[in-house]
Symmetry: C2
Subunit: 456 residues, 2 copies
């Protein structure tokens, strides 16, 4: 009967749950630099654009159909739609929409998409409470700090074993943000994190299906409910995150606790958030960027005999789909990404339309891409050579793609991206007003001025 | 940059998701023996009693408070209360209540408490749909088969690494039961299981807090929503359970696929369900039973100098709390269990009242219990010797405790247990009628006849 009753256990973990609860409950409002605060606005604005943009997608429609079977009360806005639903359901649907295009944001150190779970939960609660924009931004910064720090501690082991780290850490970030908005004390904030710790969401096998964007949405809903339960007196283990059979040790064999405690309250992970210029997995971005550069250098698809692509192994592991059948599969095809870069010089949502994916010139060009793994190349980089029919070779190395921390999206680029997604959903005028509301939300007396503009 | 991008992977798993979906969607109604069907009624009846019994507990009240913040529609009954809430919230609260006393049921091979997640989800959907009792029983049998078979495949590794297997497999069982009730086809049933596969719930660190009963409740809600989403066209990976980065390989290094496929549709795991005679973790039951037998043999607490307890290591690991401060902690104290057996000859919910836990005679007797680990003793057994002040030694060995498969609870014992919990909540008359409705539910035209009786 004897058996190994725990694979590995660190019985000396610091009190992570308590430390984070203290931080979330007591860190001063706007207790960070102007640049951190500005990044929070960029994060919010980018997230709103993504959610509005995908609001009429079949993924959002299916989720909303399920929610409506519950006959929800009209507490909070489904961004980009006329419907209002209860706040937990709004968190779910907005979290799904915002990640549907795979066009949102990325905390590069962990590949977490931080806004989806946290902003979706926070905005729904803030809207229902009539909270100020400052309270919303505070909650967003603190919530993202919680999920990304937990991610830093567990990455890469946790991700490698199959977890979609956005959803698994996102529940904690969403709970933290909602606890802050609900003004829970340290004790109840710890309980909110504790209930959330039993609900890590998301397996990587789901990539390429609607369940991938479900992960941030589900995490948003679970975190929000955890905070509501704690508010009403629900209890959890005060060591739910760090104990030997708590969340982190159960779902990751790597747990570097110092990633959570080091410079807590001084360094904010939202500072390291980036925004996608292309509507697909971040690991394809250098390849798209490189092929767009080939296009700028005058290389035309019909001249191409072969495109030689050297990439880190993770690129092919995550996005090695050689013959994508539709737009969703194309999001996981570095081959399609290369074709987009060379043919269009861009890869927004329109370039992942099923019809575009199946265009003969796209199919033909994809087949000319020969990808090889070279692990001397970083995950953030790519080495591309276009071999032309006349024997010429055009070589491009992208060290850091556009949208990376080293080459961040400008405000103008973010606004163009927002309009490109949201104009057709809520109209050009409303879209402009909504962007302005996002930029100014930190000074808004009531977030409902913003959510009202997010409806068609 | 090179790293081990998956710890271990079985790329040759059989199509588990598809096989289970086929089974759930197409297995004939009542396609099993009468004894299986009878066991399903016992499972339902025992679960209803537990949920009604704990309906006024602070745990249910806290959960319901959070749910009411969503202003839910009155779709389904909160068992034992006047409130009606939306079906997802009813699944949550009933799942919590039914496990609050730790007095529900146990699938001994996996220590899964199967009814909590599955029955809570199924009854809420059945009530809202006005389904027949036969449809409910069918869903219960099939849902429990799914979660217990997945549990069989992963146990014990999955449990040992920290997962509360009731919640982690329960989401799948709940999704299966709801898919059946919603009459989803094979394809959509597979999608329901797929969405659910991203939501394993529950860490063992939560034992002793309200978040332990949250696990079956959260699993019920998550499974129910997964089925609703699939009904509305939501998609997931068709290999979400078995793929290398699907649910099972992500959360368990042991995956014996034959446990899922062997005799599927012929052997039903609900046949192996057992019902707790004592309101605490199953591993304490042999010790309580043994001490109650000492009491029957005339041993009186004041005669006892020492109680020598020999147990499997898991007993102390799970329930080794030497000095429990309150009723909740006492549920994880084999020492308290021994004192209950010797002093009261029983250990129902009343014996876990805070006041009882702190009675001086209980505290004194607990301190006389000396537990030692002997792994030649099975988890289901115990060896107890009472050493009396006059030097006499009274020895009892319990191979299988009352409530085990070998010594099952009788119908009369189940009814006494039900009344003991539910009489004070809904009244003696209603309680009797509700029990009758449970026994007869398989023939009921509409389950709402039953749910109506479960209100005070």
């Amino acid at each position: 009967m004897a058996r190994n009753t725990q694979v590995s256990a660190d019985h000396n973990a610091p009190p992570i749950t308590q430390t984070l609860a203290q931080f979330v409950a007591h860190h001063p409002s706007r207790g960070w630099s102007d640049s951190v605060d500005h990044e929070a606005h960029r994060t919010l604005m980018n997230w709103v654009g993504c959610a509005v943009g995908a609001a009429t997608h079949e993924t959002a429609a299916a989720a909303l159909g399920a929610v409506q079977a519950l006959q929800p009360a009209a507490q909070a806005t489904v961004l980009g739609r006329r419907e209002r639903v209860d706040m937990a359901s709004a968190a779910l649907v907005n979290g799904i929409s915002s990640h549907t295009f795979d066009f949102d944001d990325t905390h590069l150190k962990t590949i977490i998409h931080p806004a989806g779970p946290v902003a979706s939960a926070a905005l729904a609660v803030a809207e229902h409470l009539g909270a100020s924009g400052r309270e919303l931004i505070d909650a967003l910064v603190l919530g993202i700090d919680v999920s990304c720090r937990v991610g830093n501690a567990m990455y890469p082991d946790h991700y490698d074993r199959g977890w979609h780290i956005t959803g698994s850490t996102g529940t904690l970030g969403a709970a933290a943000a909602c606890a802050r908005l609900l003004k829970l004390d340290v004790q109840r904030t710890a309980m909110a994190l504790g209930v959330a710790a039993s609900q890590p969401i998301g397996m990587r096998e789901q990539f390429g299906t609607m369940t991938k964007p479900f992960h941030p949405g589900g995490a948003a809903r679970a975190g929000l409910m955890s905070a509501l339960m704690a508010q009403h007196g629900y209890t959890a283990s005060p060591k739910a995150l760090e104990a030997p059979r708590g969340m982190m040790q159960t779902i990751s064999t790597k747990n570097d606790w110092t990633e959570i405690t080091h410079e807590l309250g001084q360094r904010f992970e939202i500072s390291f958030n980036t925004y996608k210029p292309f509507a697909c997995g971040i690991v394809i971005h250098p390849a798209i960027d490189a092929c767009a550069q080939l296009r700028e250098q005058g290389v035309r698809p019909e001249q191409v005999e072969r495109i030689e692509l050297k990439v880190h192994s993770l690129v092919l592991e995550l996005t090695g789909k050689k013959e994508p059948a539709d737009g969703l599969q194309a999001k996981f095809s570095v081959y399609h990404g290369c074709a987009c870069g060379l043919i269009f010089g861009r890869a927004a949502e329109a370039e992942f339309d099923d019809a575009v994916v199946n265009r003969p010139d796209m199919v033909a060009l994809r087949r000319k891409v020969v990808a090889t793994v070279d692990n001397s190349i970083s995950e953030a980089s790519v080495d591309v050579t276009a071999v032309l029919t006349d024997g010429r070779r055009v070589h491009v190395v992208v060290e850091h793609a556009i949208g990376s921390l080293q080459r961040p999206m400008t405000t103008a680029q973010l606004e163009a991206k927002f309009s490109g997604m949201a104009d057709t959903v809520i109209g050009v005028e409303r879209c402009r007003a909504l962007m302005a509301a996002c930029w100014g939300v930190g000074a808004a007396a009531d977030v409902r001025a913003l959510t009202e503009l997010a409806r068609p």
